[in-house]
Symmetry: C2
Subunit: 348 residues, 2 copies
DNA sequence: TATTAGCACTCGAAACTTTAGAGTGCTAAC
DNA sequence: GTTAGCACTCTAAAGTTTCGAGTGCTAATA
């Protein structure tokens, strides 16, 4: 269908979308005529609506009801949004956000948690914040820190300043200096290597190269593997499950159950978010979504980078009827906020 | 009311509780007579029920309905349970639990998450797992690990083998050896002190004692504070929000909203759990609960210790109609399971 | 030709009514 | 003390009715 809409059609469609997003009720021709006076009679609007339905932009739940926007209509709307339509948050909302951020921020995790909460409150939907650590960091060196007679702490340091550690048993009879030499040799071997490039084969080489105590070797290997895992882990923060109850579309318990199910599958959620991480802002409407369980939902997702690296993903999940414009504005604002905060923390 | 129930009354009350827990429907005299044959007519049961209602153990939603157990009835039931009534899980359930645990366990956190999931599945209610780190650990020493020309990593080690770390700026002109000496002096000063005992006053003493570079001092202090915070943090894992939808008592959206609200207030939940941490097993029924929002719910909570220290709390939150016996059995089983798993990890 | 008033028609939501049945309490008999 | 019998109660479910918002079509109008 490559028909271009007339300006009046666009206008009417827009009003219907706005009204429906606000009220969640099918919109009738009279409503449009009354609420927004277009200098046009309901009958005319009716005719236009009929056309819009034929074009696939409107749907009728049943004959004697008003009409609701189709997925295609939202698509059109969202696309037109991104084309320059100036976003922007009301000063009121900004103030709210700022005050919410001040509530409780002790750690980095708190910031993410707060962000999720704020995002859900502003969007009146469920929010997900994914803090990515899909890091390209490189091995710098390792070291043993003394703990007691039988145990030591294996510390592994990356060039980016991340540290991971674990307790290892000291093999009977091994001296402190010997361990230090061992650590140094392994360090030299792996220094500068990207963690992703430290494969099992490489670790085997290490084994041969150091040819030291076997149990210690196992500890070292485990330690390195653990660092790798920790570096690649990404943390997820959920907010606003409660909001589901406010959305009329979830009065139907079955739909709610489905979405809650998705939210409980942490791995699936992560996959969903990772799938959209390449484009900065991604809006997935209804059946555009490939993951089962949320195919009658929409997802707005924004991925942010720092020096080319994905550092975080914000997402809002809800019914297709969503305040797209507002949510996108909020995300934009949060992004800027986070940038500032993160930098401050970096400085510390 | 210090009336002792006759054996028959106890029996009948028990049956009513059982039936109600299973069906969530008010129980009538005929149902009891038919389902469990007591060699007694419905009329007789009716008389007894009438008495039990007077004694406060039963309630009638309305005249022409059956009766449901009161909070007092559950209390009686639960108390009788703990008095030796042999608990025990069906082999079937045990097998289920074991298989669920095998699904995905990479880290310690996964274990807790799985535990929450299992607990919620078995109880058909929301579960909370609190991993306590209310630790009594002591400062052992600190050390600077080199990172680059301008930064170093401050590592703080406790006697228990916990390590925390952070990046600090190296003051201009300060040499590696100088920093090492500084670390050694602070270490000597704080060595062996319980983290809880490291107050601001003590930190001030440190400041005077080391009288070194000011910015480095600030970094050190912050580092120590961070370790303290990290050590005392306790992590919470939630499971089975979805389960709420299965419980008929939450058909009423308002009740659901309340409970979800509580679940989103992490701090409040923690407080609730901490409040019951002294007794090993605590069952709070309905209005016994002092926290608002869950006063028509029950909470079953079990706190576990290792060497006298609280290490974890399992809890199930749900309507007063709950499978108390089963939940307690499951908790018991999970506890034993966790003990084994944790020990294995310790050994690693 | 585009717009609009007018009107018959549709259909769901809400209000109301009816019905069925589960449960009770009481009384009188066993 | 127990129980059969029965009148009475009250809810949930099913069935009606009513109301109104909304439509589509037609014919008049600009």
């Amino acid at each position: 269908m490559i028909t271009v809409l007339t300006d009046r059609q666009k206008k009417i469609l827009q009003l219907i979308i706005d009204d429906y997003i606000e009220t969640a009720e099918p919109v009738g021709s009279r409503t449009i005529a009354r609420k927004y006076n277009l200098g046009i009679s309901p009958a005319t609007i009716r005719n236009e609506m009929s056309d819009l339905e034929l074009l696939g932009y409107l749907e009728q739940p049943h004959t004697s009801a008003g009409r609701i926007p189709s997925a295609a209509a939202y698509r059109l709307y969202v696309d037109s949004l991104s084309k320059g339509d100036s976003l922007g948050l009301s000063p009121n909302d900004m103030a709210l956000i700022n005050s919410w951020y001040k509530e409780r921020v002790h750690s980095i995790d708190d910031i993410f948690q707060s962000t999720a909460k704020i995002l859900s409150r502003m969007s009146k939907n469920v929010s997900v914040v994914l803090a990515n650590k899909d890091s390209q960091s490189s091995f710098s060196y390792m070291k043993f820190l003394p703990l007691n007679a039988h145990q030591a702490i294996l510390c592994i340091v990356t060039e980016e300043g991340n540290v991971d550690h674990g307790v290892v048993e000291i093999p009977a009879g091994m001296k402190q200096e010997e361990m230090e030499r061992l650590a140094e040799r392994v360090s030299r071997f792996l220094n500068g290597k990207k963690l992703n490039d430290i494969t099992n084969d490489l670790l085997n080489e290490v084994r041969e190269a150091i040819a030291g105590d076997k149990s210690l070797y196992v500890s070292i290997i485990n330690g390195i593997k653990k660092v790798k895992a920790a570096q690649q882990e990404n943390k997820m923060f959920l907010g606003g499950t409660k909001q589901l109850l406010n959305q009329p579309e979830f009065k139907d318990t079955e739909r709610m159950r489905e979405l809650l199910g998705v939210l409980e599958e942490e791995q699936m959620l992560k996959d969903m978010l990772m799938a959209g991480k390449d484009s900065g802002l991604k809006v997935t409407i209804g059946s555009e979504n490939k993951f089962s369980g949320i195919q009658d939902c929409s997802m707005i997702q924004a991925t942010y980078r720092l020096n080319g690296q994905v550092v975080g993903t914000l997402a809002v999940l809800g019914p297709t009827r969503m305040e797209y414009r507002k949510v996108i504005s909020v995300m934009d604002y949060l992004h800027n906020y986070l940038k500032v905060v993160m930098n401050k923390i970096d400085e510390k």
